[in-house]
Amino acid sequence: MAGNADEESQLIGRARGGDREAFRLLHEAHREAAYRVAWRLLGNREDALDVVQDAFVRAFENLSSFAGQSSFRSWLLRIVNNRAIDWRRARRLRKGVSLSTADEEQGPGGNRRVPAVDDPPDRSLQQQELEEALRRAMDRLPEESRSVLALYAGGQMSYREIADSLGIPIGTVMSRLYHARRRLREALKPWLDTDASRQDETMP
């Protein structure tokens, strides 16, 4: 499998020649990371799978434009990110309301839980509420912050890889990550106890 750069480079070369098996192996190697990023961006399993499928088709269609200056994964996840952004915009248009408005419609408590079909039955209600609150907080993030956070947490990319993938300075990656987490922290206050006075936050 595409376990190293040489092997992956060979796979990409074969795929460019129309080798279907090479395409399949590239899909197999990167589908999980693509899915995690898409799910972080969309908060919905089925939408994420649709975006991943669309992103792979687009990636394969445009494989000739992949110059190899970044890793294939970075290039693919950028496509996933772009497709997910388009998907969110289309979803907003379809609904005719903003996602934040849709959130507010969930009730005065703001935390009313609508169980997802893929919820494991053994998760505690508190855990489900926390994850639902996290999903909604992610939805409210500015687009650029959400992308950086999804690529970091979902794609498990390094700061450098994210910077290369999005074409932004590494300092901007750090700044967007900081502000994204700060906003999430504000939204998740009821669930997170982060009192630094009771923790050791000095640096070793």
Partner: protein, 170 residues
């Protein structure tokens, strides 16, 4: 503190354990005297930990297979696109094909057209490098032919020539 904002991006990197060098030392010194940034660092770590432990809905192997099959259904067209050569490649062979056409014309001029001119009668195949002329057809007052690339399983036509009215020597 007034200089806290400049340390904020570093707090994200420190929370992820990737801050090194002088920036790390600067932040350490700042944290010693800034309880607010110590709190911010704790927040960054807590949210980072939450994201790492957040359950991502699973996708079964069968679902991935189904997805691949859907993607693969789009691939025949991709395969054809991948086999096509860029336009510049075709142009590269035009001089060779043109030369082949000239050679055929000159030979023809001196030897005359094929004797059986009462129908689509003569097929001449002339090779020049990796280009060749195919289906050169002559009748009383015109000639047509195609120049195609060789050495390829799809043999693209790069030029269709049609010689009207009396261009063919009699």
């Amino acid at each position: 503190m007034s200089d806290c904002p400049k340390f904020e991006p570093l707090l994200a990197a420190q929370a992820d354990g990737v801050l090194v060098g002088s920036e790390r030392e600067m932040l350490a010194a700042h944290l010693e005297s800034c309880p607010s940034c110590r709190q911010r660092l704790a927040d960054q770590r807590a949210v980072g930990a939450l994201l790492r432990t957040q359950a991502v809905p699973q996708v079964s192997d069968q679902e991935w297979v189904t997805q691949w099959e859907r993607i693969a259904r789009s691939l025949p067209a991709l395969g054809a696109a991948a086999r096509q050569r860029p336009a510049v490649h075709r142009l590269y062979w035009l001089p060779a094909a043109g030369a082949a056409a000239v050679v055929i014309g000159v030979v023809w001029w001196f030897s005359g057209p094929p004797s059986s001119v009462d129908s689509a009668s003569a097929i001449v195949l002339a090779k020049a490098g990796e280009a060749r002329i195919e289906e050169l057809t002559v009748d009383d007052d015109s000639a047509t032919g195609m120049i195609v690339l060789t050495g390829s399983d799809y043999a693209p036509v790069i030029w269709i020539a049609d010689s009207p009215d009396k261009e063919v020597p009699s």
